[in-house]
Amino acid sequence: MSQLESIREIFDFHGGIHPAEMKSLSNQTAITKAAIPPKLILPLQQHIGKASKVIVEIGQHVLKGQTLAEADGFISVALHAPTSGKIEDITDHAIAHPSGQSDRCIILIPDGQDQWCELQACRDYTRLSAQEIQTKVQHAGIAGMGGAGFPTEVKLHPPKQNNVETYILNAAECEPYITSDDRLLRERANEVVAGMAMVASVLKPTTCLIGIEDNKPEAISALKAAISEIDDINNTRIELAIIPTKYPSGGEKQLIKLLTNKEVPNGKIPAEIGIVCQNVATVAAIYRAIRFGEPLISRITTLTGLHIPNRGNVEVLLGTPIDWLLCEYGYKVPESGTQRLIMGGPMMGFTLSHADIPIVKTTNCILAPNDTELPLAPPAQACIRCGLCSEACPAELLPQQLYWFSRAEEYEKAAHHNLFDCIECGACSYVCPSAIPLVQYYRHAKGEIKQQQASLKKSDQARKRFEARQARLDREHAEKEEKRKARAEAAAKAQAAKKAAKPEASDTPLTETPSTEKKPAIIAPAPELDLSALKTAWDNAQNKLNKMYDALDAAKEKNPEQVTKLSRAVEKNQMRVNQAKHAWQKASEEQSKPTEQSEQAVILGNIAEKGEL
């Protein structure tokens, strides 16, 4: 073992700081088990990705370990009942979030029985296929417990083209105050190493590494003992890499740099360079999920800070309200000074707005410091361009430039200076002699940029939809036009056909009228016939007029230049129709005056002819 550990070369990452560790405040006592609280608040989103989907109902009785909400999609995890009890409500409740906002939570009232549901234990994981292990991890609802909360099952599905070369277990725990991984390793190193073996059997890496800072000698010896007890996994021995204590060596990218000298490319995940990195607590949870079938329902959280009398690490059910837990461990709201509760460590954690907030899968530490150990940040002063921040930056960025750009809202330039490679470790703010809250500037700028990108995406989408609608309207209009044209053409054809048929129809008045002129004697005895001829002529003229109206309507749509011409023609026709009508009326009144009638008939015949136009 000692041989292997000496072989491995340890590299270094740029920058880093050495804040006071303050770990002995909480790592001197064994992990205690917190009692079951009177109420559990289980947020549906305790991980990165989509919130879980509730599958229980209000009022339902659930057993310990029963699934309350299942994963919704690939990047999501399930949620289980930490103890048996009744679902009291599914409602919005304040959650552990820097915004202090509320989110959907399942409220569970424990019944005190703590009765497990049926669990599927597995003595020998080597009999399980990789897929079975992945499924078990997925069903256990495990998300990265180091702080980020990335769904663990996703990490067990590395991109196919990149075989995992190195599997790293992150036991660095570099942040001051936090000792939950330290205590876990001291007391349950076997579980951690066994869990690591299970993951390694899925990922099949060529190298298995445990990265641990040299400030945890007890944990290191416990790990050594555990490693010596375990068989090789796929002919791969687990190696222990002891790294010098420097914040933030526990950052995923920094640890990878320390152990492999590789850098994760901008915007990529470690799996793309053949590395998978996991936290020890996550691996311990994987072990319990596979060996005993237990889902993730509790975690080890460090309760520390001088305001908590019984400091230490506590195994606490997920969903336990922090105020209740702190009360159990003797915390009293300080009468003087500021009352601050920090979730996470002093470097990367955030201050809670109040304590009625549940412990979640990512809560590794609750810090209640007094004003002397962790004073409030003094007011920010002007940047003196000392450059200490860029010396401290573990991501090799230019914090000062990023600060200026973020402050001036020149987000594009900030992004150009790789703002998104900032891991928000707080090293720059820590060393800043002007106490500028640099990280907050970066967080704000990141949020603004993301918001801008989102609104840009939305406006692009809106533009696409607008253009699609415009195209649709144009198409519909064109179709309508096409139909109208077709109708007009059909009408014109019909008219032409009628015109062809017309001579026969108009024959009667036409042939008859000249005959009346020539042979008035014949007509004279038959005034009745003449009258009916007049009526026919009037009807014909009327029909023609109607057709003219149609033609005018069509012309209005198609060729406006003809409209005036046509309307003039229509007017004329209208006049003729009136004349015809008048003539017929006159004729019917004065049946005895054939000459007049015949005159009218001549006129009518002319009208009928002209009416053709």
Partner: protein
């Protein structure tokens, strides 16, 4: 004498030869690399918020982009607000004016919601929506596709039963981000002396 003439003629020939060659080259380039449409319109259009609300007096964002390219004022877009004005001013290299209040005020992002019980299914809002974000058919209840709605307000007016509300967009956890620190600048004498034993 004749040498001088030859020199002059050679020079003239050489220069006119060059002129012909470059002229041909430029002529070819103007045909080959012809830019269709006005590229500045696309750039302006990409900066506009695409709400298609018509508050600028144009029937959509693109027509407004076209008139900006033709010299219209850039301060007529209330949904884009100051950010859009600044971006346009930077693009066009002009001073950023104040938002023209005549066209409306800058409001937080909104989304239209149909009170579905009251909807009579008249389809008027569907016809009014510039981005087809309202779903429904005649005599059936309509609903707004919230993720697509730009909050342009155009569906509110045609509704005969006033069952459309514009509500501010939910500022939930998904869109939350850190506030900017207060740009507090103090002088050294204002500084609180560090207490003994401090670690940070």
């Amino acid at each position: 004498m004749s040498v001088a003439v030859i020199v002059i003629i050679t020079a003239i020939l050489a220069l006119s030869g060059l002129a012909i060659v470059f002229g041909a080259l430029l002529g070819f380039a103007s045909v080959r690399f012809k830019v269709e449409g006005n590229p500045i319109v696309d750039e302006i259009d990409s900066l506009l918020p695409q709400t298609q609300c018509g508050q600028c007096g144009h029937p959509g964002c693109r027509p407004y982009a076209e008139s900006i390219a033709a010299g219209e004022e850039i301060n007529k877009c209330p949904p884009g607000g100051e950010a859009t004005i600044n971006a346009l001013a930077a693009l066009l290299d002009i001073d950023a004016p104040e938002l023209d209040a005549e066209h409306g005020e800058e409001k937080p992002k909104q989304v239209a919601i149909i009170r579905e019980d009251e909807c009579i299914g008249c389809t008027k809002c569907i016809q009014a929506c510039p981005i087809d974000a309202i779903l429904g058919s005649a005599k059936h209840m309509h609903t707004v596709i919230e993720s697509e709605c730009t909050g342009c307000d155009l569906c509110v007016e045609p509704c005969p039963v006033d069952c459309i509300d514009l509500i501010p967009l939910d500022n939930g956890l998904a869109t939350w981000h850190w506030d900017a620190p207060k740009p507090l600048q103090i002088i050294a004498s204002d500084k609180i002396p560090h207490s003994e034993g401090a670690i940070a």
